[in-house]
Amino acid sequence: MLASGLMLYSCENSKKEKEEIQALEQEANAIDSVSVEMQKSKDSIEKNVQELDSLLNDLN
């Protein structure tokens, strides 16, 4: 009884920890996704600025 109780307790603990770890990973992934999109937007703006700069130089 005691052994099975301990086993059940440890199983519950490990399940809870697993859920917490998964939540943390999901949070990290979500943050990473936003970062990736921001980086893409930034890169795109920079590329546009470079292109515009080059076209403006061409006007002179």
């Binding site: 920890e17 998964q22 990973e25 992934n29 996704s33 990736v36 703006i45 006007l59």
Partner: protein, 234 residues
């Protein structure tokens, strides 16, 4: 004889009297003549003076009419100027209002764009998150994986912290990029407008050929398009 003498004396006396009275009359008439002349002259002068006066009065009236006319003209002009000024002021007010509206509109547009971008980024992030979630579920989480000396929970916490730090860094860089791009945007607008104006002037002054004009115009259009793209992104 005595009678004759008496008659002669009487005749002489009568003649003398006649001559004397004639002389007196002549003298009187001589005295009266200058007075008449003076009177006449005075009358003539009076008439002349009257005529002069009336002439001058007429002249004065004319001048006064002229002055009145000029004053009316000036009044009209000043009224017209006032109207013109009012019109211009109204026009400027209208322009200012329009500009204000335009600015407000642009600000609203930019806000909308920023919201859309935010939504887009969030949407994409959610999509990516879903993918990552699916991947995690398929491949299994960090739980039970090789994470060196860290436990699964510690590893997860570290990952989340690193992701947050990285996001802050990317966010700051993105903000800086947007600021720089905005500065470039206004600089580009000025340069493009100036280039277009110069090109039109040069072409009108025949300083550039039709071919050169077309080439430069195409370049300006290209730069304008690139600027519009940038404006959409900001």
């Amino acid at each position: 004889m005595k009678n004759v003498a008496q008659k002669l004396i009487a005749l002489t006396l009568i003649l003398g009297l006649a001559v004397f009275s004639q002389n007196m009359y002549a003298q009187k008439s001589n005295e009266q003549t200058p007075k008449k002349e003076v009177k006449e002259k005075t009358e003539v002068k009076k008439e002349e003076m009257k005529k002069d006066m009336s002439k001058k009065q007429e002249e004065m009236k004319g001048k006064s009419e002229e002055m009145k006319g000029k004053s009316e003209e000036l009044k009209e002009k000043s009224k017209e100027q006032e109207k013109e000024m009012k019109g211009k002021a109204e026009e400027q007010k209208e322009k200012a209002k329009e500009q204000e509206k335009e600015m407000k509109g642009k600000a609203e547009e930019q806000k909308e764009k920023a919201k859309e971008q935010e939504k887009e980024i969030k949407g994409k992030a959610e999509e990516n998150m879903e993918k990552a979630k699916a991947k995690t579920e398929n491949e299994g989480s960090a739980y039970g994986k090789d994470k060196g000396e860290l436990s699964g929970k510690e590893y997860g916490q570290k990952r989340a912290e690193e992701a947050k730090a990285n996001q802050e860094k990317v966010k700051a860089e993105h903000t800086q990029t947007v600021e720089n791009a905005k500065a470039k945007q206004s600089e580009a607008r000025t340069k493009i407008d100036e280039a277009r104006e110069k090109l039109e002037k040069d072409y009108k002054a025949k300083k550039v050929s039709k071919e050169e004009y077309e080439t430069k115009k195409a370049k300006i259009e290209k730069a304008e398009e690139s600027l519009r793209n940038l404006e959409k992104r900001l």
